[in-house]
């Protein structure tokens, strides 16, 4: 009994050391993916968020895809960083619709004037209701909606330059 018990502290030490080392080397990512990927887009109808773009309803996204649905806000800094990449995607012939979270029309107008407007339609989600219904946990996020109106892919965070080919690829595959 005693002979093996003497090794217990060392064994515990090694076990905890391993646990902490693995936690340090592979930190948790903080991304919470939406469970609605692969499922139909929830129904919504939002008022227009910008003066020169029509409003957005889920029925408009249900057919004729694949499309890109971008969740952004005029007060969100990474959204401004993402704007050039959205422009590239638009020039590649992708139809991009936007949802502005907790925003006001003058702010959205100013944001689009400053950073460019890649959107065909923009809906205003003043109280994050559609965002929560979609299982999105922040701005910016982009959703690829396939031709049947299902969410094919969720991109959490801003689309970086190096993400553009992957997004185009996924859009092509999301028929």
């Amino acid at each position: 009994m005693r002979s093996w018990l003497i090794w217990l502290p060392l064994a515990l030490f090694l076990a905890f050391f391993g646990l902490f080392a693995s936690g340090l080397l592979h930190p948790d990512d903080r991304i919470i993916p939406s469970k609605l990927v692969g499922k139909p887009l929830p129904a919504f109808a939002l008022p227009a968020a910008a003066s020169d773009r029509p409003p957005l309803a889920s029925t408009q996204l249900a057919t004729g895809g694949p499309r890109l649905l971008n969740i952004f806000a005029s007060w969100c800094v990474p959204c401004a960083a993402e704007a050039p990449q959205l422009m590239v995607l638009k020039q590649a012939g992708i139809e991009i619709d936007g949802i502005a979270i907790r925003d006001a029309r003058p702010d959205v107008d100013a944001f689009l004037k400053r950073y460019g407007n890649p959107y065909a339609r923009i809906g205003l989600d003043a109280r994050s209701e559609v965002q929560i219904a979609m299982g999105s946990s922040g701005v910016p996020e982009s959703f690829i909606i396939d031709s049947k109106g299902r969410i094919a892919y969720q991109h959490v965070g801003d689309i970086r330059v190096e993400d553009v080919p992957m997004i185009l690829d996924r859009l092509r595959n999301a028929q």
Partner: protein, 136 residues
Amino acid sequence: MRGLLALLALLLSVPVLAQTALPPAPYADRQIDDPALEKKARTLMETIRCLTCQSQSIADSNASMAADLRSQIRERIMAGEQPEHIRAWLIERYGDWVSYEPTAEPILWPLWAAPLLFLGLGMMLLRGRIKRRRLP
């Protein structure tokens, strides 16, 4: 001195980047008039995790998204929805992650079994000691 002050100001400043100019949703920081309903909403909000500040419940968080979710929960409770239905609706979207309430999923069985396991272990240890004491 001025440099030190500037540094101090920088250290004490709070990031404001992720906040909006929009006023909070109507029931974000306002209680429901009916105390029974407010209690229901409150109990649920304390066990729903904030999505932007991940170690807080939405009841404790100042994030704008948590405020919107608080308001949504209060309004849905006022409309007669049951708290567990709202929890299920959220889990459908964000996974078990969003709820602080432990579920009965197989992955949590060890957690539920732990008290019994430790109680059994304690009994065994106790039995060993009592026996040894009786012997001499």
